[in-house]
């Protein structure tokens, strides 16, 4: 106990001494440091902070030191996280490899693969992307068609991946590819690592309905991939992918905690755009009522999440509750977005022109972007199917 307390104090001292003041401000999106070959730093402080953290392996605090990690116990890593949050230190490095692929590779990779890839992730030298979805494989992921043919000394990969987050800024991609066309569809899939600098790989940004370009379509045209880039066994990539899922969920929660929340308090927004009447009520009764309904549902959702947390703590978990959370929260976010537009009227119809404030533009862009919430990560329809089957035991 004493050593843990000492660890906490030492950590705190080091952070205070080493984290520049500018790196202790709330993070904004443009200032996130993502790794990779095209890595850049918007200022000296960010670079300094990144390098100091990297050199201790604290970009990946709980990974083994032999691969460049911090070598901490999970308790220690938690303390580092708490201390960083308490001091307001920004994360030193953002990367899908750090959150999702790295942990899976530590579990499933060969020693050779770990030695090649893990240190580069810790040191922010390689930026990773995920290659799962395809144009014709959305909810039905296992129907993917990108194929890797065994050519003796290498695989020859052909196909198209969708929704490669920042694919044009990434260096390597971990992919699900079909290696057996005749097997039942989940069984002919392998998990393959591909250097995106290889000839025949092209990542083209797709414009979203809100003008953003963060996702790419990634084309593979006769791409030669060394055979030792296979993770796990041939045709058993589906189980690697399933195992990786748990890290994906962690990542989702990290991502949502670092997302900028610019919209602010919706009650304050409503008062600003709609005004109060002489009795202190929101001047538009219908919006007042819609606002209340939203707040109540959102509060109910927050209590749902809290209850699940309490259940886990108490060890008595009832099966169904957890399954409702994604459906409820993503639907409610969309209700909220539509309500924000209604509240803002004509001021909620654009992300162009200086006539609109920064937060107005952001709100409208988010409204459009958040339409993806009920689609990505398992559509609402899939969620309802799962609830019907797993929680309600309805027949199929």
């Amino acid at each position: 106990m004493e050593t843990i307390e000492k660890f906490r104090l030492d950590t705190r001292d080091w952070l205070i001494a080493n984290c520049p003041e500018s790196q202790r401000q709330p993070i904004i999106k443009d200032q996130q440091i993502w790794g990779g070959r095209r890595r850049s730093f918007y200022c000296e402080d960010a670079k300094l902070w990144f390098e100091r953290m990297r050199d201790r392996g604290w970009t990946a605090p709980s990974w083994p030191t032999q691969y460049g990690g911090g070598g901490m116990s999970s308790e220690q890593a938690k303390i580092l996280d708490q201390e960083m949050k308490a001091l307001g230190c920004r994360p030193a490095l953002y990367d899908i490899g750090l959150w999702m692929f790295g942990p899976a590779l530590l579990e499933y990779g060969t020693e050779e693969q770990k030695q090649e890839h893990i240190p580069k992730i810790v040191r922010g030298e390689i930026r990773w992307a995920q290659g799962y979805s395809e144009p014709s494989a959305g909810s039905d992921l296992a129907s993917l068609k990108t194929r890797a043919e065994d050519k003796g000394d290498h695989f020859l990969v052909n196909g198209t991946k969708m929704w490669t987050t920042q694919g044009d800024k990434s260096d390597w991609i971990f992919c699900l590819v079909r290696t057996d066309n005749d097997a039942p569809k989940q069984q002919g899939i392998s998990f393959l690592l591909i250097d995106m600098a290889t000839e025949g790989v092209l990542a083209r940004p797709m414009e979203l309905i809100n003008g953003d370009l963060e996702f790419c379509q990634t084309f593979f045209d006769d791409v030669k991939v060394p055979k030792n880039n296979l993770v796990g066994k041939l045709n058993e990539g589906w189980s690697v992918a399933k195992a990786l899922l748990k890290y994906e969920r962690n990542m989702m929660s990290i991502m949502s905690s670092i997302v900028e929340k610019e919209e602010g308090d919706i009650v304050a927004i409503a008062k600003h755009y709609v005004g109060l009447d002489s009795s202190g009520k929101l001047a538009n009764n219908s919006l007042r009522s819609q606002l209340t309904e939203h707040l109540m549902r959102a509060q109910g959702d927050a209590l749902n999440a809290l209850r699940l947390y309490q259940q886990h703590k108490s060890g008595v978990v009832d099966g169904g509750l957890g399954l409702t959370l994604k459906y409820l929260s993503t639907s409610e976010q969309q209700h909220k977005d539509e309500l924000l537009l209604a509240i803002m009227g004509n001021r909620g119809l654009s992300w162009h022109d200086p006539i609109f404030s920064k937060s107005e533009k952001k709100t409208v862009k988010n409204w459009a972007y958040n339409k993806a919430h009920t689609i990505a990560g398992g559509t609402s329809e899939i969620q309802l199917n799962i609830i019907a089957k797993k929680a309600l035991q309805l027949p199929s």
Binding site: K271, L295, L303, L394
Partner: protein, 379 residues
Amino acid sequence: MSMVLNEEQRLLQDTIDDFLSSNAPIEQLRHLRDSHDEKGYSIDLWQQLTDLGIPSILMPEEFGGFGFGFKGLGAVMQQMGRNLTASPLFSTVVLGASTIELGGTESQQKALLPSISAGQLTLALAVDETHHHQPLNSATSLLDQDGQLIITGKKVFVLDGHSADKLVVVARSSGNTGDPEGLSLVLVDSDAAGVQIDRTKYMDGRNAANIIFNNVLVSHDQVIGDLGKARTILQKVLDRGVIAMSAEMLGGCQEVFDRTLQYLCDREQFGVKIGTFQALQHRAALMFCQIERSKSAVLSALASIDENSSDSSLQASLAKTLINDCYQHVSNEAIQMHGGMGITDELDIGLFLKRARVSMQILGDSDFHKNRYAELNGY
């Protein structure tokens, strides 16, 4: 707010579950309804529940209470909701005894709480004066004539007012209709001179009463709390009532949902179980999501009473609104998914439908609570 039950509360829940399903199944409600029972609840059952200590569930230990707390009460109310149990628990204990416990003098408490614990005294709260719940709109007057208090006015839809031994009357000694100040709580014997009680049967088999107070004489020691200053106590009592009723509704809603799921698994049409139809599966899943959300709100509100939280009013309005809307939706879907059989009295589904509508009105419909929630949030 801890929404998880502790060991004792879980035990209580199981005990009541077993007890009610064997001693007070829905058949009992049908019998009370069809025999036009005078009280509208089974005296035997109330005595058995008394033997189990249920009326003391909220009371301080000095008055025979068990310390199960409001979450314990919530567990009992949920089971009563599942079994559509009619009993004086809500009116007598949640509303009546709470008033005395929160606002009564020591002598009032000593005089009344033990009789309630013993199942020998029933109470009813006479608050509303129109068909929509508006507690501050009380106009029933309380005049002080040379030390003698006189109540004049009319109360409507007083739950269990037809059978209660004593009435807790919300009356106004100053201020105008709508003022939060100037209200008092007065204990009046049901058979006092000038009290005229007309029973009202609801469609769910439960009862209320319209009550006229025609120059009813009461003494100062029948007043609970300070004269004209009932605001805070009344608010707390009503919040307790709202939350306890929400718990009952949660139980009813879950039960009618469970029965519907069972029907979806049993009923065949077109050669398959109707539960295989994806459209029905999705609607069932949507109901489940809504129920879970309402459940969290109800459990948190129950805990807020135990934890003496400052936002109990907010939580009460949240819980009641969510469960009102949820029970309405789920009971309608239950009828629809049961098809023709759902609209016959042979199944129990219609009993839940009717109980849903009656309980939606008790101590405030969704409009009332949404409005209050907005006001409490300052907009």
